[in-house]
Structure formats: C-alpha cells, structure tokens
Subunit: 134 residues, 6 copies
C-alpha cells in the first residue's frame, strides 16, 4: 500500500500535465505500460515532470555507456539501498534490454562481493593508499 493515491489511466487522462507525461512515457518506451512509480507521483505534477525528464535524459538518451550497463548500475544502487520496488522495476528493465542469466549471475556476484568487502574495509578502517589520489 502506498502513502499516496495510485492514479488510474482515467484519472491521468483528465489532468493535462499528468496526461502529457504519461503520453511521453508511452511514446519514449514504445509500450502502453505505465508503471506505478509514475502513477504515485501523479498527485505532484511538478515532481512528476522533473523526475521523468531526468530519467529520460539519463536513461533514454544515447551516451558513453550502453543502456543495459546503465540499467545494471541502477539495479546495483537499488539493491544496495534496499528499495524493493526499484529492485523489481530495474531488474525487469534490464531483462527487457537484454540482460542474460549469465550477466545477471555476474551482477549478483559483484554486488555480493562488493557488499562483503565494503563491510570488511569499514570494519578494519583501511587507510586510503596515496596511489589512489586523483
């Protein structure tokens, strides 16, 4: 259950600002599916517009990293932050963008290893090597 209303398509259609964002999500993704995070943000149109603009700019524009790598980085952060919804939505997106079972296994291995060594390094308070200075 959410702390806010999850907007239906009918409700979204009736609000021009929300409709415009939902239309752009559908056009950008070439899919009729609008997932719940956007329906939850719809009650605050300014935040809906700004968040979608930022997601579109970072994730949907061609850039130095390919879209699947960016999606897997998003997954890694979402796992580390323990965000249930985000883990589900970005795992699904990564699969849709071509993440194979072998790639997923690799991601899990790296995320698990990093979490383990992050904890060890924090426990030991390892001093940063001067060689790592920028």
């Amino acid at each position: 259950m959410a702390t806010v209303k999850i907007w239906t398509d009918a409700q979204a259609e009736a609000d021009p600002r929300v409709k415009a964002v939902f239309d752009d999500i559908r056009a950008t993704r070439k899919s009729d599916f609008v997932n719940n995070v956007w329906r939850a943000l719809a009650g605050q149109p300014a935040m809906l517009e700004a968040t979608w603009a930022q997601v579109k700019d970072v994730m949907a524009q061609p850039s130095a990293l390919d879209p699947l790598v960016k999606e897997m980085l998003y997954m890694a952060v979402s796992i580390a932050n323990g965000c249930e919804y985000c883990v589900h939505s970005h795992t699904a997106s990564a699969r849709a963008k071509g993440m194979s079972d072998e790639m997923y296994a690799d991601l899990l291995a790296v995320v698990g290893l990093a979490s383990q060594t992050n904890a060890l390094v924090t426990a030991l308070q390892v001093p940063v090597d001067p060689e790592f200075k920028a």
Copy 2:
C-alpha cells in the same frame, strides 16, 4: 588509521601464507602494487586467502560481463554503501581498465538518479506492479 596493523612488504615476506597471496596478487595484476586492504587483512591469513580467492574469481576471470562493467558495478555499490576506501580503490581500478571521463559522468548521473528515485519510491511506498513478477 586502521583498527589493525597494515603489513609492510618485509612483514609479508616473512609469513609464507601472506607471501603466497601477495605474490599471487602481483602476478594476477601484473603490477608490484599491493594496496592496503590486503595489508590490513594479512593478520588473518584465512580471511586474506578466502577474500582474495573470491575477488580473483569474480573480478579477474572472463565472464558474461566485461571487466570494466564489473568494476563500475563495484563502484556503484561502494558509493551507495558510503565506503570511502572502496570508492577510491574501485574508481582507480575502473580508470585503469579504461573508464573514460564520459563513462564516469554517466555512472555519476545514474548513481545520483537512482539514489534520488530510491528515496522517492521509499517515501511513497509504491506497490510493485504485477507485471514485474518473475
């Protein structure tokens, strides 16, 4: 400052188990540099051996994801977990493996965006869409 002794090369040379791991780190990486995390773990040889074996297996073996992508996933987790040493060491490793300034900018943009939307989704307690079910 660390909570344990940071072993010098001379100290490592005098302990066969530590020497064996340090030798393998140098051979695997084709570099004489052994960074502080291994020097901090040297006081506990079983953990040193197990951790290095796991890092070597996950990060240095050919697998579905290329080495730079795995290093960038390691960075993303380390940033999300707030591990200062790990951020430094894996940023340096990623650069050594070919991360360009443009790729680094992309990683920062994704990590920043994911952190922001993770927080929003947690605040709103967005319910997981049935479409995301495995």
Copy 3:
C-alpha cells in the same frame, strides 16, 4: 508478519505495565488508537516503557522546533533508512499535525535531492571546506 506477538487490547489490559503505557499513549494523544509498534514491544515491558518515555519526551513536549517539523524530520530519517512501517506511521502523523500537500511535495523534493547529492559527494569524495569547521 512480525517476529513477535502483536498484543491485542485484551492482552494489554491483563498486564499492568503494558496497560499503564497503553493508557498513557491514549491520554497523551487524545485518541483510542494504539498503533502496532507498541503492540509489538509489549512483550518486553522495560523496552516498551523506555521507548515510549523517549518518544513522548522528544516528540510530545514543547521544544524549540514545532511538532510538525519534528515529525517531518522523523519522516526524512525513516525514508533514508528505508523503514516501511516508520514511513507509513510518521507520514500519517505528519498529515494529522497539518502537513499540507505542498509541504509534503517540498519534503519529497528535499529528501530526493539530498539523496542524490549525498551519493555524488560520496562518489567524488569531496574534501570538507575549512570554512565549515566549528
């Protein structure tokens, strides 16, 4: 599902220490509603008493910050810590204390922005400016 029993009103009535705390919660809040966190703590009366005393002291006594601001700070920490129950209970409390939709939008914007810049600053390991020293 909880890791401990959630006490009913009948069970609470039968235990004098639990009854005393539940009575004080109802009197302090001028409401008959006792939410689940107190029902979960009821099996450990010393912790129930100490936690309620601390919550009452910090949140229900007049102090330098007004009650709504304190409730919103509680929300911000609960979101950052990813505590589902806490996000729900403190969002509901903030609304009951007068948080408008506009204030909620502001809180979400700040929490999202802070999460994003926290991640960027951690990624870049920005050194603290000497001007910030106490």
Copy 4:
C-alpha cells in the same frame, strides 16, 4: 582527497560554463564563497549545471516550507546516509539560516530517536496498521 580535481577560481574563470555557474552561486547566495562540491563537479559541466539548477530550485525558491526547515531536512537525510561532507556543509548552512543551539539539540534528539526506533521496528518486522493506508 577527492577522486577528481578540485577547481580553483582561476581554473573556473577560464571555462565559460563553469564560470557561469560559479557566478550564479555567488549571486544567489550573496557571498563570494563557493564550496568544494561545486569545484569537484566542475570537471563535468553538464552535471554541474543540472545539480546547481536543482539545488537552486528546491532550496532557494520560496515554497511551502521555510528555508531553515528544508535545510534541517537536508541535514537529517545526510546524517542518516552517513555523508561526512554533506553533514558539515548543511549544518553550516542551517546555522547560517538561523538554527539555534536549541533547535540543533532538537534535531539531534529526533534523528537519534528515529534511528533507534527504525532499527527496533525493522528488528520486530512490525506490520503496517490498516489505519495508515492512504
């Protein structure tokens, strides 16, 4: 030490995009001081511009919450996320905007209490009360 170069004023003056942001920071804040986070972001002008635009929009525009409350929410998130630089910079900003010692004590009490009860609730896995549904 940072993972990137911290730009000096001379370096910023020589790059029109960076100069424009630094000028706007100084004008907006009515102060000559440009803190290190902006100097660290200067190597990536697009991110510098986008981050400053978002900070200016959320923190410096009149909105439902007063500027000091927004700054204290920023502090709370930064503390919960364990971001050293962010804790320093936003504590300094909150003081500059009028946070008294009594208000600071209140913030610390709420942040400490929330961290404690977040942990207890997570340990007990308290189920969300139906009364909290939106």
Copy 5:
C-alpha cells in the same frame, strides 16, 4: 514475490548440482526444511554452491565464538541493513539455537542504542580519539 523462480523439491531433485547442495543443507542442519533463499539461488548453481559453502564454513564450523553469538551478530547486521527476509530467517535460527526472550531483549536494546549513537556521532562528526589507534 521474487525476481527469480523459487525451486520446488521436485525441481531440485532433477538437477544434480542443486540436489547435492540441498542434500548437504539437510544433512548439516539435521532437518528436512530448506528455506527459500536456497530455492531462489538454485537457478544459479555456481552461486548456490559458493554461498552455501561460505555459510557452512562460517556458521556451522566450531570456532572462537559460539554458534548463537554468531547468529546474533548476523541478526544485528541484517537489522542494520534492513533486510526483511534475513531478519526473519536469522531471528528464527537464533531462537532455534537457544536465544531466550531476555537475550532477544538485550540484542534489541543494543541494536537500538547503537543505531541512535551512530546517528549522533555522525551528526556531530566526532574525531577519533588517538587512544583508539591500533
């Protein structure tokens, strides 16, 4: 709902690598119950084998700390990391290994106190005393 398939016993029986691990879990624990984390990992046999080997080595071998203390440390980390499944499974394991209600109350008190003082220390950015140096 999981992001991967949760393997049934029939499915596990049909895959020799998965069957071998499930058999060893049952033999090691002297119980027929195989909990969901192993059923979720079964799709990635290499990770299933490696994770079980590490859990068995760390948790089921005699070592300096008794098994219950190790289980309670596992609980403490899982609570701090906000991992719902892990809190449930390790609380159940600790109870099975003899954690009394009084010990559980103690653990909750320490975890709550540590979370609170961690937040205060981070807020105040307390410098490490030279006396704590290794």
Copy 6:
C-alpha cells in the same frame, strides 16, 4: 573535525552537569579516560545525560548477554552503519573486554557474510518462508 566544540577537562570541570556525567563515566569505567563522543555532547547537557544513562543501563548493567557479546553486537551495527568513530571506539572496547584475535576474525567473517547474503536476498527479493512466522 567536529561540527561542535570538543570539551576539555577544564571546561567540563566548570559546568556542574557536565562534570557530574564525566565523573560518573570515570567511576563506572574505573578509568580516567573520557572519549570524544562525551566531549562532543557536553554542549547539550540534557542529551549528554540521557545518552550516558542509556549507554550505562544497556552496556554496563548485568543482563542476559555478557558484556563482550553486547560490545560485539555494537561493533556489528556500527560497521553496517558505516560509522567510523563508532567502529574505532567499540573495537577498542571489545578488545579491552577480552575479544581475542580469533573472536575478531569470527566477527569479521560473520559481518562480511551477512552483508553479502543481505545483498543477494535483496536482489532476489526472496519471499519469507511461512515457517519463520512468530
């Protein structure tokens, strides 16, 4: 550097409330050493008194768990929360209370393993087994 003043002994002597707490810390611990967290809290006497009372009650009173186990649980939470000062102070306290190198190795192994499996479980979104219900 701290966000607040670190009180010297001379300053503490001059304030009766601070002096009383410092005296009790020294008497309780049978040591003249008062570490920085108390010197940082001294500017807010009510919080100093309440925090010390809670630490003394939880950590210094005989209870179901022995003092070393409680100190190691404190370490585990502090590591998971990434609190540098807390890791240092509680590692030093655990050593003073008898944590051997072998026990420390065990703690590190459990904390590392738990961090790794917490991440895997979060990534896979493993459903809680009905058998774990209270």
